[in-house]
């Protein structure tokens, strides 16, 4: 039940606000968000702030409401209590969610097609990104013909081409093997350097969080609440093996109650 005096945003409100006037916030702001599915409390008074241009990683045990958090930011769900304010955000769902019947370029350009562009216009807009994203020559390939890492790159490009200020990445590399994952983290850091956005990155990999994010937010087990926030003041590019990275990752694990 919403507490008295608390503004509850609805999806409709959110879209109206996004369409009518510039969004109230340039990044993301969640205050005291409560969300339950039936009797199951998922988020319990979660507050989170992501400034414009910042990359914030959200780390927590499975089932702590990380995906729900992204749904709220993207306007796919509404909080039971508390407020959610966010600039227009696009979700990159868990796994890649590529449409198997579309080519890589049509998948990448999906948001443009939905936005009303013709097939040719949408493709023309997506194509210049293929070479810098390491996808040259695979424009017409179907997802089934791509490797796991390539599929994630297409999915990220699709998210990027939606053109929103905020990107919500839900465990983008969770399904990849360890080697590919490290390569993809490097790749994502580089891609974000070229195309700076406000990013909320959900992951269960503390090292990934430290390598990519400006801040790491640690959540408790369900119902999720912020346990600790770690500022990552390390120069880029960062590498998994670096001492400073390993120290922060160990600190994060300790805060999550895991002895490293």
């Amino acid at each position: 039940m919403p507490a008295e005096g608390v503004i509850v945003t609805t999806v409709a409100d959110f879209h109206r606000a996004a369409a009518a006037e510039p969004p109230a916030v340039a990044g993301v702001r969640l205050d005291g968000v409560v969300k339950a599915f039936g009797d199951l409390p998922v988020l319990d008074g979660l507050s989170l702030r992501v400034e414009r241009g910042e990359t914030v990683a959200v780390v927590g045990p499975s089932g702590c409401g990380k995906s729900t958090l992204l749904d709220l930011i993207c306007g796919l769900a509404t909080p039971d209590a508390g407020t959610v304010a966010a600039a227009p955000a696009t979700l990159m769902p868990q796994r890649d969610a590529l449409l198997p019947w579309l080519s890589a370029e049509d998948n990448a350009a999906l948001a443009l097609r939905i936005g009303g562009a013709s097939r040719a216009e949408a493709r023309a807009a997506a194509r210049p990104y293929f070479a810098p994203f390491g996808l040259a020559g695979f424009e017409r390939a179907r997802p089934a013909q791509l490797s796991g890492g390539m599929r994630q790159r297409v999915a990220f490009l699709r998210t990027l081409l939606a053109g929103t200020a905020v990107l919500c990445l839900d465990e983008p590399f969770g399904a990849l093997d360890a080697l590919t994952r490290v390569q993809m983290q490097k790749w994502l850091a580089e891609a974000l350097r070229r195309e700076p956005r406000t990013v909320v990155l959900v992951t269960h990999d503390v090292e990934e969080a430290v390598v990519l994010a400006d801040r790491v937010v640690l959540l408790s087990p369900r119902p999720g609440r912020v346990v600790e926030t770690i500022d990552v003041d390390l120069p880029r590019p960062r590498r998994r093996g670096d001492h400073a990275v390993a120290d922060l990752a160990a600190r994060a694990l300790r805060a999550l109650g895991v002895d490293a």
Binding site: H15, D71, C74, L76, T90, L91, P93, Q94, R95, A97, L99, P100, W101, L110, A111, R113, I114, R142, P143, A144, Q145, A162
Partner: protein, 242 residues
């Protein structure tokens, strides 16, 4: 290939049984007599084959158009699903014999009542498979389209329809196979031509070789219709990894 081998073995055994006097050729003609009838009676069989094929194809088309429309309406609009789904299931339980008489009284002895009966037989697999396919979309993909603010129509066109295509084709292939049975039943309920009609007449005249020749053609027609859909499926659903 294996199916062909099996057919050759069965036909050989059959031929031997008839020639050896194990079976009366009046009851079960030898495969060679059936083959001879296929050739000798070609002027009778040919037009009847065309008639039955037209009934089956037109009935299939009607079932596909009506089935697709009803599946999509049920998918998009919950009250329609509640109202129509039990009727769709019930349509499968209608005894064709009961329906055939009023249909023929209403529509005459021509093509129309046959097309309606074939459509009724094919309607259920087409509708139910397409409807289930439209619903069984991957939730992550659905979430993605919602996140991109896709309209209801865009979700249907870009996501649900292509995702449902493989299962829709399963329905169409089943429908193609049963459409010929439907056409035969329809002809038995009252007609002046068609292979089903020919089977009935030849049986009465103890022309068993001709009866079997007509049956062979019915079999071939069903396999051909199935093959057309299987081929179309392979061409249209090219994204599945081989």
């Amino acid at each position: 290939m294996y199916a062909l081998g099996l057919v050759v073995i069965l036909l050989g055994g059959w031929e031997a049984a008839v020639r050896g006097g194990l079976v009366d050729p009046l009851i079960l003609p030898a495969p060679t007599s059936v083959a001879a009838a296929l050739y000798d009676d070609r002027t009778v069989l040919g037009p009847d084959l065309l008639t039955t094929a037209a009934e089956a194809v037109l009935g299939l088309l009607a079932a596909t158009v009506a089935g697709a429309a009803i599946a999509i309406v049920m998918h998009l609009w919950e009250p329609a699903r509640r109202a129509l789904y039990p009727l769709v299931v019930g349509s499968q339980a209608l005894p064709i014999v009961v329906l055939a008489a009023p249909l023929i009284l209403l529509l005459g002895f021509g093509l129309a009542p046959k097309v309606v009966i074939v459509a009724l037989v094919c309607f259920f697999p087409v509708t139910v498979n397409l409807y289930d396919g439209l619903r069984a979309v991957d939730p992550e993909q659905r979430k993605l389209l919602r996140s991109l603010h896709a309209s209801r129509t865009q979700t249907l066109v870009l996501l649900e329809a292509p995702a449902a295509l493989p299962q829709a084709f399963t329905g169409l292939r089943v429908a193609a196979a049963v459409s010929v049975i439907g056409a035969v039943f329809a002809e038995w309920s009252g007609s002046e031509n068609g292979l089903g009609h020919l089977v009935l007449v030849s049986l009465g005249q103890l022309e068993s070789a001709r009866t079997f020749a007509a049956t062979v053609l019915l079999f071939a027609l069903a396999v051909a219709l199935y093959g057309v859909f299987a081929l179309a499926e392979r061409r249209l659903i090219s994204w599945k990894a081989p």
